[in-house]
Amino acid sequence: MASEQNKKLKLYSYWRSSCSFRVRIALNLKGLKYDYKPVNLLKGEQSHPEFLKLNPVGFVPVLVDGDFVLADSLPIIMYLDDKYPQHPLLPSDIHKRAINFQASHIVSSAIQPLQNLSVLNYIGEKVGPDEKLAWVQSVLRKGFTALEKLLKDHTGRYATGDEIFLADVFLAPQLHAAFTRFSIPMNEFPILSRLYETYNATPAFQEALPQNQPDAVQ
């Protein structure tokens, strides 16, 4: 039976990658089933020739949808939103859309790249392992301070109102990393910590958590 429903999506992901976490949330929100293909970043599997054929940049996540291969969390999520319109991830109001784009980019360009694995390894090597946490915390604090200001006139139950949109998909993994791995005290950021608790009670987010993935290491 070669029907649309039987053609399964494949997601190349690493359990702890916050970029992969974003796509897992989006897939769950849209009720899309997928094959989970683990890529072990610590073992360098992202540099293996078979993976580089899929994404020459050597990053997760990568989504395979039939003949389409897509890489990078934002293009993947925008593709999913175009092709599978159930549970739209962008609001129709243009102003609210702009807030969602900004919040997601504060995460994806002002925070995440400055504290990802490659940066931490470099800092550990060149400066010292003790500096890594201080660096990450300063990056997180700058970004979170900006997010608190951006969102304060827009939050409802979720980041930009009472429905889950793009901003939530990007925020949840970043907040998870900050509060569980990098010891940022939640009370410093009241809006973000309230959102974090809301995400933790929402099934689509819970199922996407790192520790619930097939390649999670306990």
């Binding site: 389409f68 897509l70 784009f101 002002a110 790249p113 900006a146």
Partner: protein
Amino acid sequence: MGIGRKVVLYSYWLSSCSWRIRFALSHKGIPYEYKAVDLVKGEQFSPEFEKLNPLHCVPVLVDDNVVVSDSYAIFLHLEQKYTRKPLLPVDPQIRALNLQIASVINSSIQPHHMIGALKDMEKMFGAETKQWAQYKIDKGFLALEKLTKNVAGTYATGERIYMADVFLAPQIMQAVNRFDIDMSKYPTLRKLSETYKGLAEFHASSPQSQPDACTTVD
């Protein structure tokens, strides 16, 4: 036809992120008011500017009563609101590729060599920040070369100017002029850069054409 409605762009002449948006506005034929933010004098930290962007970065776009910061977010906002001369293709795979190329630049390259991030790193690494910036640019350009070499035509993803070109043009110029990147390693990118230099919108948006351009550089 929107008479009296004004688009305002907060920009710094040398900022490659601001350049991207100047390029897009020029390409789409959208007139705008230029408001200079002198990053060297620290004008991005003024209380008035902080209200516009709590992350203290340019560019910021004010369009009617919508305030958008982050060049990727501004780009998507402009693309959705001003549909003349589209900068994203309809084909889903090429569209996703443009989003990915822009994302590599916006998240994996530029944040690592922006003035603020380098100053923070100088406190930790001392004189090595230029090498760090070059390392990140080279890593990113290697990825971009791989992404474009089989799809580039006159422009990055074919025969029309799209988002990838808008982000590539300023990034390549910045890499060569400020960080001495050897472009002979990236023949596709180098060829694209030569093509961009022949475009009217490239010249209109380039640093030297801006109201706040200086004849001497610090």
